[in-house]
């Protein structure tokens, strides 16, 4: 028998050790979060997940309060909503949250909450421009816009507890608070390895992909799941595509094997396919050594006829080929089939060795 607690008046099961957040979600009650990061120790930093617990003196953070048997939890009372709304109002005033100009517009948890609570004007005095740290974007991939940072700490947790690159931490105190690299140096002079996990988890527009700037709003892009073309881990990616062009790449959450993680190559090295240097037409070498453009028919006819004449003069084993360990299975299958069934040789290999 599992134990139970009272969730919004209804007896609900939970597993011992479970936080209110998870038990309530299992019980069908949604609780908003900002700082909570799955797989990392809860920090209780943002308080947006606050709920009423009967007998407690103040509202409790659902992400970091364990459920106990018989506990009476209310997630949707007037009191809870008032507190959350005020929290959002504070956060909106903590920087410059001008959504119109934000890369995260349409994909921002703070914007979602402001909308949910029907907030139309600022209740508190907005932080002064001069009190906001300048945007850090000296590196090629990551933009850190301090005017939008709500100091939830998720990026720090992702960097230290998930991917364990230990490149960033909470620096300074109070109103001076800031997420910093070691020595508060620019990212490209720090321990950062540009895995972009911090960007992946930032709930607002404080951390964004530099290369994706202006390439498409969330509602304009289509998400296509695919597999990373680099190493043999096989990380699962979302390609965010607008008009047949990849705007950015993110990780597929909860997917095997990467569980929402990517490295610098998988996340940022995708745009080689749009290079102007791509081969765009078949090329045939002239007697003088220069290449000239050719049609597919001409090039393929040349290959086929040359192969046929070599086979008839020297036998099929005078032809050899190497397949590509980067391309899809179906390509390798076709190539070995061409060599074995059509040319008639087993001289087919690939660079299994590099």
């Amino acid at each position: 028998m599992s134990q139970t607690f009272i969730l919004n008046g209804i007896e609900t099961p939970f597993t011992p050790g479970q936080m209110i957040l998870d038990a309530a979600r299992n019980g069908g009650a949604e609780i908003p979060t900002l700082c909570y990061l799955k797989g990392a120790a809860p920090t209780g930093a943002c308080r947006i997940c606050c709920v009423e617990v009967k007998g407690a003196r103040s509202l409790m953070a659902a992400c970091s309060t364990p459920v106990t048997a018989g506990m009476e939890v209310t997630t949707n009372s007037e009191l809870v909503h008032r507190a959350r709304k005020m929290n959002v109002e504070f956060l909106l005033a903590s920087g410059k949250h001008n959504c119109l100009m934000c890369e995260a517009n349409g994909n921002c948890r703070l914007q979602d909450l402001a909308y949910f609570y029907k907030i139309t004007k600022l209740q508190f005095r907005e932080k002064d421009e001069k009190d906001i740290y300048p945007t850090e974007d000296q590196n090629p991939f990551i933009v850190r816009d301090f005017s939008r940072c709500i100091l939830c700490g998720r990026c720090v947790q992702a960097c230290n507890e998930v991917v364990v690159n230990r490149a960033i931490s909470q620096g300074y105190r109070g109103a001076e608070s800031k997420i910093v690299t070691g020595g508060d140096s620019p990212y490209n002079e720090s321990e950062c390895v540009f895995c972009g996990q911090c960007v992946e988890v930032c709930p607002v527009g404080a951390l964004t992909e530099k290369k994706a700037k202006g390439l498409g709003r969330p509602w304009e892009t289509q998400k296509i799941r695919t597999t990373c073309p680099y190493c043999g881990v096989g990380c699962q990616q979302w390609l965010h595509v607008k008009d047949g062009k990849i705007a950015k790449v993110t990780a597929v959450e909860d997917a095997q094997p990467n569980q929402g993680r990517l490295c610098v190559k998988g996340r940022f090295a995708y745009d080689f396919i749009y290079s102007e240097e791509r081969l765009k037409t078949p090329l045939i070498r002239e007697v003088d050594g220069a290449f000239r453009e050719a049609s597919w028919d001409e090039a393929l006819d040349l290959v086929a006829s040359k192969f046929k004449s070599i086979i008839s003069e020297h036998g099929p084993d005078a032809i050899a080929g190497v397949s590509c360990a980067r391309s899809i299975n179906e390509d390798s299958y076709q190539m070995q089939k061409l060599f074995r069934a059509v040319i008639g040789t087993n001289n087919i290999d690939h660079c299994a060795r590099t």
Binding site: Y230, I246, Q256, C263, R278, A318, S327, D349
Partner: protein
């Protein structure tokens, strides 16, 4: 890999040999680091102080190319001190007596002499390995890229079987594959001795089966040439035509001068690629191919997981999917192939012909993919091979193995060892990462990594241009003085053409797999001023 990436984070003891995981397989390394934060032990065996050493309880700084001696030494202690898994060895393996006889020739003191790891450390290491069960062994090219690569691999397997660690979650022998689809290219039979699904070409039944499926009278029964032999035979004239699909051999193969001579000798060279490369310079015909994300298909990862790859963009100009190009050539040589998409090729041919993949169909690959073997459409895949020590081919074979030194060892003229590998920001010859905006800003040039001790001896300053010379060639490159590299070792990658390590590397190969010895050759460093 016998096991899965999902095991990494749950493992209790991880032994890494010859793998620079945080640079070559970064996401996999994050799970190892998570395991360590959760209390797992990590042991790193590597000549270099790689980044993973920061997380390790033990860094076993072995001399380049001494793996077999070290592992024999460990096994010697396991047997001498009765620490090995007797029950497992008796019920799941054969060959123990022969193995024992061999490793008795490698007491820790002798292993220490060869490997540079002290006898005490070898004993501690053996005891530690025996103290936790199961332990997970991971390796990469530091094991395979030697003339004794196969022996190194078998030594890893010996060790794990002796410890009773093969066939269990969080155990096993786990080579992380370098390229995204190296596993798949092997599975598909892009190898000279096997059809798709590892069915041997010298087996008459397999030939009959494939001949029928492919609608041909017969198929060649003699295993073909491996790549180094093909290239060599371009110069002897035995091979007239060479078809290179997507490989930049002129940079990736050892001894570039010689490789280019081979490519130059081809009577007819066909290159099929997405970019002009150093290799396509030698081509007679270049065929433009569609790239990743420009066609549908599948990759198979290191954990034998078949994953979908999907289309996001259209190929530029007239570039075409590779499978289409092969099909068109077949047609022009008198063969009509029915399958006309990657999906049809997989569903109608690959999965029908390869029993271990029979249960894998495109419609089953919408989510996380499936790990072969998956013999039926009801089978949900196989995360762990040789479950509970029951080996797919009967009993696990323990093989006695002797240590041999690398083919070229330092001498008076070339007093340093050169070892090569990859760096985080680039991939192989940079045809792709070099053309992805921003990556070159993070790493824009090659360096020769050397120790402070050698830098002092040679009078070389950090960042100074130096010449690194071997019997094959010479490169001018910046010296990078780093703690990562021990005295006597020079470490380089092959990402940049001008200072590519393969101008220097030694074209000698493992006799069975023909894997080149990228990890060891002899070089000297000269100052330029």
């Amino acid at each position: 890999m016998t096991n899965s990436f999902a095991d990494f984070i749950k493992a209790k003891l991880i032994l890494m040999i010859g793998t620079n995981m945080s640079e070559a397989h970064p996401v996999a390394s994050t799970f190892v680091k998570d395991a360590v934060l959760g209390g797992a032990q990590l042991i790193v065996v590597d000549p270099r102080r790689t980044d993973m050493v920061d997380f390790a309880q033990m860094h076993v700084q072995i001399k380049v190319g001494s793996d077999v001696a070290l592992i024999n030494g460990i096994m010697n202690v396991l047997i001498e001190e009765n620490l090995y898994d007797k029950k497992y060895v008796e019920s799941c393996t054969v060959g123990f007596e022969d193995l024992k006889k061999k490793v008795m020739e490698y007491p820790p003191e002798r292993a220490a002499e060869i490997s540079g790891v002290s006898a005490d450390t070898i004993r501690t290491l053996a005891r530690r390995l025996a103290s936790v069960k199961p332990a997970m062994l991971m390796y990469t090219l530091g094991i395979t890229e030697h003339i004794c690569g196969v022996n190194n691999v078998m030594s890893c397997a010996n060790l794990q079987m002796l410890l009773g660690n093969v066939g269990f979650e969080c155990g096993g022998v786990n080579p992380l594959r370098g390229q995204n689809n190296v596993q798949g290219a092997c599975d598909m039979g892009a190898l000279p001795n096997v059809f798709p699904g590892y069915q041997r070409v010298d087996n008459a039944d397999a030939r009959a089966k494939f001949a029928k499926a492919w609608n041909v009278k017969s198929l060649p029964d003699k295993p073909g040439m491996m790549m180094p032999t093909m290239m060599e035979n371009l110069t002897t004239g035995k091979v007239k035509a060479f078809y290179v699909f997507g490989e930049n051999l002129a940079n990736t193969e050892p001894d570039i001068h010689h490789v280019e001579h081979c490519l130059q000798s081809a009577e007819f060279l066909v290159c099929q690629d997405i970019f002009p490369t150093e290799t396509t310079r030698f081509a007679h015909v270049i065929l433009p191919a569609a790239a990743w994300s420009e066609n549908d298909g599948t990759f198979t990862s290191s954990e034998r997981r078949v994953n979908r790859v999907r289309t996001a963009s259209v190929p530029p100009g007239q570039a075409k999917p590779n499978w289409w190009i092969f099909r068109e050539i077949a047609k022009r040589m008198g063969h009509q192939w029915a399958s006309n998409s990657a999906k049809e090729i997989w569903d109608q041919e690959v999965s029908v012909l390869a029993p271990s993949m029979a249960g894998i169909k495109y419609r089953r690959l919408e989510g996380d993919g499936i790990q072969w073997p998956a013999p039926t459409e009801e089978h949900c895949g196989t995360p762990t091979l040789h479950k509970d020590g029951k080996f797919t081919c009967g009993l696990g074979v323990l093989k006695p193995i002797d240590w041999i030194p690398p083919a070229e060892v330092p001498d008076k003229e070339y007093p340093l060892v050169l070892s090569t590998g990859r760096r985080l920001y680039h991939y192989h010859t940079r045809t792709q990462t070099g053309r992805s905006r921003g990556i070159n800003d993070l790493l824009g040039e090659e360096t020769a990594d050397i120790s402070a001790a050698d830098a002092r001896k040679l009078g070389v300053a950090d960042g100074e241009m130096i010449a690194v010379k071997s019997r094959r060639g010479e490169v001018k490159v910046k010296a990078r003085v780093t703690q990562q590299v021990p005295e006597g070792l020079v470490w380089m990658a092959f990402h940049f053409r001008d200072a590519c390590a393969n101008w220097l590397t030694n074209p000698v190969y493992d006799p069975i797999t023909q894997t080149a010895e990228y990890k060891a050759c002899a070089v000297r460093i000269d100052r330029l001023t």
